[in-house]
């Protein structure tokens, strides 16, 4: 257990250091999200009521697409110089690598959300009519849902020739229940129209099920040739 924790921490620290030095993922994600916000705000001119109805979908779809950039980058780094083989020949547990990668992506996407959420609020003139604090668990659980599956499927498509295309093809269909939960919960909280409790519980269940499944299957994926 201590080895799992220390290797997870070492891998996470290493990934953050590499991202800090290259800024490959965060820059692309930021520009992409910024473009989505600006282009959509120019394309539509919704009133406050309409904004509350569509913002949930817009925000989460933008973050989902932006997350793909980070997810692809995560494993691309391990392919350069075949560094992943150095991990595979070591006694380090496979799940330490998976958890570190998922946490790294979670931090990156959360950072992006923290930077972009105020912009969304300004551009779409948003103000929550429901309990705004509920947006925090929705963001945490939703982001985890995206990155845990994304990290897993990015690893799965690692050895395919067109992995940039493969990842969305694998990830988007399986993320539909999570995305629907995030969008519905966000819409309800913003419009104050009922309770988002059901969608938050659904999101939590989704996270537990898929995190367990990914942890159970990751070693097979890592050792696949």
């Amino acid at each position: 257990m201590s080895s799992l924790r220390s290797i997870t921490l070492a891998t996470l620290t290493k990934d953050i250091r590499l991202e800090w030095r290259s800024r490959d993922a965060i820059n692309s994600m930021l520009f992409f999200s910024l473009l989505v916000v600006v282009i959509f705000s120019f394309s539509f001119d919704p009133n406050a009521e309409e904004s509350r109805e569509i913002a949930g979908g817009l925000i989460w779809v933008a973050f989902l697409f932006a997350a793909i950039v980070a997810l692809n980058q995560t494993w691309a780094r391990e392919l350069r110089n075949q560094v992943l083989d150095a991990y595979r020949v070591s006694p380090a547990p496979a799940n330490a690598l998976f958890i570190a990668k998922a946490l790294g992506n979670f931090i990156l996407v959360s950072l992006l959300e923290a930077l972009m959420a105020p912009l969304f609020m300004i551009f779409y003139n948003l103000r929550a009519l429901g309990p705004a604090w509920q947006l925090i668990p929705v963001a945490i659980l939703g982001t985890w849902a995206l990155v845990v599956n994304g990290t897993f499927f990015a690893a799965m498509s690692l050895r395919t020739r067109s992995r940039e295309i493969m990842l969305p093809l694998l990830l988007f269909p399986i993320s539909i229940p999570a995305v629907q939960s995030m969008v519905e919960a966000t819409r309800i909280i913003l419009s104050g129209d009922g309770s988002a409790r059901f969608w938050i519980v659904l999101l939590l269940t989704y996270d537990v099920v898929f995190t367990t499944a990914c942890l159970g299957l990751f070693e097979t994926i890592l050792q696949a040739e």
Binding site: R77, V83, D85, V89
Partner: protein, 225 residues
């Protein structure tokens, strides 16, 4: 016969297929400890596949590999693997790389990393990222990574490729020193002449099979004459 010279590795009827292509076609061999083996053969002869199978990176289609009575995965602490690519992160310094890989083996502190870097005659205080190293320095740092956890068996794939003659000779001297210290060394190379007088055995591979094992550097065709 000393302990070091008892049989350490037993390869039995090893077959490795990639789709329809058989990279290894029934390899049977035994290797003693404390010896220096050089694996030779044309491109596609199966040298790298044999080495990767011994490292636990290529799973046998049929047959077994026993290393110190264990599977390669179980014996991973006793194996040091160096591939043709560096297996290092280009954006980090040599010390940062080794510090990370040390954690995968449960090694804490910088002493062992510094010692490994010095053993390949590089400076542990060099802050330059590995991506800016010369090819010779990168190969030596890659060797430092392979020996970091003080493995009993070294599996080295093309350690002298793209390295100038002087650096290659320095690496040969290092490897000889390691063999003299009781390590078992396997080197896959096309530059066998560098290892003449150093290696204990030359293993010739052809079409996925071991066709000859000689104590001197004599090609199988020359021996037949």
């Amino acid at each position: 016969m000393t302990d070091a010279q008892t049989t350490q590795i037993v390869v039995t009827s090893l077959i490795k297929q990639f789709g329809r292509f058989a990279a290894l076609r029934g390899v049977d061999a035994e290797f003693s400890g404390g010896k220096f083996y050089v694996i030779l053969g044309d491109n596609g002869a199966g040298k790298t596949t044999l080495l990767r199978a011994m490292a636990g990176l290529a799973h046998p289609t049929r047959g077994t590999i026993s290393i110190l009575g264990k599977t390669p995965q179980e014996a991973c602490r006793e194996l040091g693997y160096m591939a043709h690519p560096s297996l290092l992160y280009d954006e980090m310094s040599g010390m940062e790389n080794l510090r990370y890989f040390a954690r995968l083996y449960g090694i804490t502190g910088d002493d062992r990393c510094a010692q490994a870097i010095r053993s390949v005659r590089l400076d542990p205080d060099l802050t330059r990222p590995v991506g800016q190293y010369s090819q010779g320095m990168r190969q030596r740092m890659s060797l430092a990574r392979a020996v970091l956890h003080d493995p009993q068996i070294l599996l080295l794939d093309e350690p002298f490729s793209n390295v100038d003659v002087n650096s290659a000779r320095e690496m040969v001297a290092l490897l000889k020193h390691m063999r003299d210290a009781g390590k078992t060394v396997f080197v896959v190379t096309h530059q066998a002449s560098l290892l003449e007088g150093v290696a204990d055995e030359f293993i010739w591979m052809q079409a996925g099979q071991i066709v000859n094992r000689t104590p001197q550097l004599v090609s199988p065709s020359a021996e037949a004459q």
